[in-house]
């Protein structure tokens, strides 16, 4: 979906149409969650601190996010996807991979299917979407970014290498900002430059991800569209309107967040063995600390002593903490996929 949250706001409030809109808090600590295309012209983009966004675009209108509305649209489009295929792998509320090799409507061309789907999304939600079509997930995602908004772009199999050769490295799906910077320092500016490196070279420099970079630089991506992507962690976090400097307040806030994680864990009917706390300081330095135990972490009472233990080495009075997060990982389902073998426990 194009400028998803912002588009939903413009749809529901005609006064916002054609104007630069940012979804997110306007306070001096807010962050832009989504920016309308009108706002993007000024250089406003998501994840930008609201203060900077307001400076770049003085006419920017901030609106509060309404996740219920976004979720509703998300559900609508997902229902539409399932009319075409069951192989739908959601990436976020407004993005998904669809494997339409064998689609339910037996539409012979993916381009025709995408055109029809885009039209139906617009009819149903009055919102525009962009589609990318190609032979694998990496290329399809790459293609979807080409013609936004309301775009439709196809990378046919014969053009794959041409296309990648001249693609800037930071546009590669799966190469983040940090890696892109690293690569640029190595002289890798375009896909072609990346292809000059041997697989072992890339693995030496980037670890496991090196294999992946080697492959995508050749347009190879054999990951299937996975309709049941396994959730790896479950968590919650909170950015505070003013920095926390008191230890007791930090613990209280962590407890509050843990209660939310508890609620989410129950909703998702899962539990894990690792608890991770995230602390972001006033200067944006981020540290995470985690602890794994042999018992299941399945409720707040299990989290509380771990939170106290992990936090004991954190001193908020030094720099002040702007964000706290709690998450549980090593989730049960990861283990359940392993066949057989269950260590029995003594019943005390």
């Amino acid at each position: 979906m194009d400028a998803f949250f912002a588009s939903v706001e413009q749809r529901d409030n005609p006064a916002l149409r054609g104007k630069p809109v940012a979804v997110g808090g306007s306070s001096d600590r807010g962050v832009v969650a989504a920016a309308s295309y009108e706002a993007r012209k000024y250089g406003v983009h998501s994840a930008m601190p609201s203060m900077i966004a307001a400076r770049k675009c003085p006419d920017l209108i901030f609106v509060k996010s309404r996740f219920d509305a976004y979720r509703e649209v998300s559900r609508q489009i997902r229902d539409l996807f399932f009319e075409y295929t069951d192989l739908v792998e959601p990436l976020s509320l407004d993005e998904a991979f669809l494997d339409v090799t064998h689609n339910k409507k037996a539409i012979p061309s993916a381009t025709l299917l995408a055109r029809e789907l885009k039209q139906r999304i617009f009819d149903e939600t009055q919102l525009t979407a962009s589609a990318g079509i190609s032979v694998n997930k990496f290329l399809a995602k790459t293609a979807s970014d080409v013609n936004k908004p309301d775009g439709l772009f196809l990378i046919p199999p014969d053009n794959v290498l041409d296309y990648i050769t001249r693609m800037p490295i930071e546009h590669f799906y799966g190469i983040g900002n940090v890696t892109a910077m690293k690569m640029k320092k190595m002289g890798i500016i375009f896909g072609d430059d990346l292809r000059q490196y041997s697989e072992s070279d890339l693995v030496t420099r980037f670890g496991k991800s090196g294999h992946f970079y080697y492959q995508i630089s050749r347009g190879i991506d054999n990951r299937p569209v996975n309709p049941e992507r396994i959730r790896k962690s479950i968590g919650a976090e909170n950015t505070f309107s003013r920095d926390i400097t008191e230890y007791s307040e930090m613990i209280d806030q962590l407890r509050n967040i843990a209660r939310e994680v508890d609620r989410r864990m129950k909703k998702a009917e899962t539990r894990g063995r690792t608890l991770t706390l995230k602390f972001k300081y006033h200067d944006f330095q981020l540290i995470t600390r985690s602890k794994t135990i042999s018992e299941w972490i399945d409720n707040f009472a299990r989290m509380e002593p771990l939170i106290e233990e992990i936090s004991s080495e954190i001193d908020p009075s030094e720099k002040g903490i702007r964000l706290l997060g709690v998450s549980v990982s090593n989730l049960e389902q990861d283990e359940d996929t392993r066949p057989g073998a269950l260590q029995l426990t003594l019943e005390f």
Binding site: S294, E295, E309, A341, Q343, L344, T345, L346, E347, F348
Partner: protein, 374 residues
Amino acid sequence: MKFIVSSSALLKQLSSINGVITTNPVVPILENFLFEINEGKLVVTASDLQTSMITELEVESKENGNIAVPARILLDTLKNLPEQPVTFSIDEDSYSVEISSDNGRYKLAGENATDFPKVPNVSDDFAVDMSTDVLSSAINNTIFATSNDELRPAMTGVYMNLSDSNTTFVSTDGHRLIRYRRVDIASENGSTIIIPRKALNLLKSTLPAENTNVTVEFNMSNAFFKFNNIKMICRLIDERFPDYENVIPAENPNKMIIDRNEFLSSLKRIAIYANKTTHQVRLKIAGSELQISAEDLDFANEANERLSCEHDGSDIEIGFNARFLIEMLNNLHSDRVSFHLSEPNKAGLIIPEEQDENEDILMLVMPVMLNNYV
């Protein structure tokens, strides 16, 4: 204040209590040794609040006084000095410590001794004597099966139950359980305590090789161990220990007796091929043959071996974590061990065939469920 001491004698005493000091203590002063000089005797204390160790040695000194000395720097200095008498001069106003040797002078910043946390006093509510051999064998036999799970604090230590006929040490991590009983230690008024793992580990490394007497005194909250010129004080785990007697099966009818070393070396080979997460090995006992096998489906690895055994009972196939079995068998000394089994989903017992007349060792291990029983 001034005192003179042999560098190697001091180093020896400090090294024996240095293990208590943690790298990042709760209060910075715990990075120091507390030195207390009284009538020519130097008493040194190291502590992490939970556990403290105290040692003493003779020094040459005319005055009494106290000072906290940074442990790391002092130890490193002493380690690198050739054996000789060294002089410590302490400025009681600035807490600065100067060490003079034949080689030169070293100055380090000490701290006010009164800031050092008070170590609880010995209040001998209860005392029992044992030999260092007995204590170290009790520790060695149990400590490996303690749990790391801090949410079940009782299981992170070793339980000790003194009764009028024997003393029982128990450890468990929820998957296995060790009960080590001595009939040569007993006490008329029974008592139970849980000793934290760290304290036991420290004891293990500090107990002298030559057999001497250890006095153990304890009350509700602390235990004191005294041997030679070393004292250790640890806070006890104030929790209820799991009701371990209930989980030990009274009668496991299926008995197998096997050569411990043969079985152990076989397990070490087979374990290489086991799944890296579950370490599952399969024991199949049929007649007087034990077949040990493992497979790792992720890598298509598999291995199996056959050993002969004495077997009394019906044929059985049961899975265990190889690492548990290896650790347990490693800690036994008997040439032959017997396995007492019942069902593939019930606890198995490992009992040494030959035991010291004063010892009674029982090891319990829970199976790993096999996904297919053929």
